[in-house]
């Protein structure tokens, strides 16, 4: 009841966002019960038409697109959450550290990040994943490291601004340690800008994974993955097969949903801090 009331108090954009995110979350959580077929099961001919026997048709080897999308939601959202979480954890930690410690720590970390950023992402992923293999933990590690770099820069910039606030100085004067300052003073106040970034980065994970699948890296089959679904069917588009549009639309929809939700959350958070 309370939740419902809260929901109706939101503006239409936020409501739409929540509907989208909850929809995909349900797909992700209950995939095996919702999906009509298995994610790797071959159910028909190649590229059966959309809205025929199979709602979204079949893919390039005859699997049910709808089922793959539903399982894909589970695989991708899970993976993206984990990866983005790690990226933000790492990036924010280092960013805060650089901003709080300043001096040579900041110099070393910043130069290191500059260095990693200036290596093309795909090449970096290619080199590391070729050496380690594409097991999911490695995939997560590589993407997390890649995305931790821009997060570092944002976190550092934000933390620099917070760090000059009197309450941080007050904590220093109290004799608080580094960890407290980072965790209790900087982190809660950096959440808003970081959250806004989280929304976008979350979706970039899909892109990077699909980019990796272009190079034959990426998620292991038979795990369905939206990026790979776009990739696998993409060549059909020039010939009037609209199949790749469906997973692409899913990625776009989720991106929009998550960003709408994040936007509201950010607005709310910044409203709370505002005095006037």
């Amino acid at each position: 009841m309370g939740l419902l009331k809260l929901f109706w108090s939101l503006n239409w954009g936020a409501r739409l966002g929540y509907v989208i995110v909850i929809f995909f979350a349900i797909c992700a959580l209950f995939a095996p019960w919702i999906a009509p077929y298995g994610q790797s099961q071959i159910v028909g001919d190649v590229w059966e038409p959309l809205f025929g026997e199979f709602v979204f048709g079949t893919d390039q080897i005859g699997r049910d697109m709808l089922s793959m999308l539903i399982y894909g939601a589970r695989n991708m959202i899970g993976l993206a959450l984990l990866t983005t979480g790690c990226a933000f954890g790492l990036g924010a930690l280092l960013g805060f550290l650089a901003a709080t410690m300043r001096g040579w720590v900041d110099q070393v970390l910043s130069r290191f990040v500059d260095m990693i950023i200036s290596i093309p992402t795909l090449i970096f992923a290619l080199i590391v994943l070729s050496a380690t293999g594409t097991a999911i933990p490695w995939l997560i590690t590589v993407i997390a490291i890649t995305y931790a770099m821009p997060v570092f820069r944002i976190a550092r910039a934000v933390a620099m601004d917070i760090e000059v606030m009197d309450y941080v100085e007050a904590a220093r004067l109290r004799g608080e340690g580094l960890w407290w300052i980072m965790r209790e003073e900087i982190l809660p106040n950096a959440m808003t800008p970081l959250a806004a970034e989280f929304g976008l980065r979350f979706c970039f994970v899909f892109l990077l994974i699909s980019g990796l699948s272009f190079l034959g890296l990426g998620l292991q089959p038979p795990l369905a993955d939206w990026g790979a679904m776009v990739r696998g069917n993409a060549d059909g588009i020039a010939w009037g097969y609209l199949h790749p549009l469906v997973p692409a639309a899913c990625i776009a929809l989720l991106t929009i949903g998550i960003n709408l939700v994040v936007d509201t959350a950010v607005q709310k958070a910044s409203g709370l801090r505002d005095d006037q």
């Binding site: 130069r111 500059d114 290596i119 093309p120 070729s130 272009f214 776009v230 990739r231």
Partner: protein, 312 residues
Amino acid sequence: MLLKRLVLGILTLVAISLLITLGVEALSGDVCTAMMGQMASAAKVAACHSQLNLNLPMHERYLTWLWNFMQGDLGNALTNHRSIASLIGNRIGNTFFLAGLAALVAVPLALTLGVIAALYRNSFFDRAISIVTLSGISVPDFFIAYILMAIFAVWLGVLPAISNLDQSMDLWDRIYISALPVLTLTVAVSAHMMRMTRAAIVSLLASPYIEMAKLKGIRPSRIIIKHALPNALSPIIQVVMLNLAWLVVGVVIVEVVFVYPGLGALMIDAVFLRDMPVVQATAMVFASVYVILNLLADILSMLSNPRLRHRN
């Protein structure tokens, strides 16, 4: 200050070259096994090693490379023994041509859209453009490429599907043949720049000087363009530079899809082939672009800010 940044930049380059060396060395196989593929045998690999001086320890090869590199000698590719300078020469030009063209279209477009969105913020137009750009951001670039190819090359037949740029072409032909990759890249980068432009402007709208301008009876469009935009330039420049860097460095997939002879595809090939000097040379180009653009962004930010431009 600038000098310090420059020195740091050069140190970064050296560090990257070392990192790349270690990374590629850590990969299984080397240029010999990679070239021979299915056809490799121990004897042949050994022969190949001695031909290419791969028997030397890694640090020795690295230092030799570094020494030559510092003297401007990029060396020869291990695979086909062609001079790397000539191998990447045209491609650098092509890559910059593509990036430049895309930037020429994307930057004004993104800035204009960003300004308009900020001006009519929360209107239907703003929301629509926000959703369109979010979709643009979230669709993989190769897919944008295929869609544009389907529409403009296959269905409408007005633009070429592949962009096999040739040195003998004149400027107009080059632009025509690069149209689709430029469009693709424009879609890919505009969204980000446009959103950041809008955000940077909107974040300033609560400033006292914006309120002052309103109270001076200035038109909203003039307020945005004349009062907010100049002060939002610094973050916008940063984002533009980041995207420019991406246009040079991150377009491998677009190159492959449109058969555009750029540096990205060369680097991927070189990594696959473990052709270390080529990997190094391309990595150095990319890293320099990044370092230089960063430096440029800082200089421009400084110039855009009267506080830093006119120090008293």
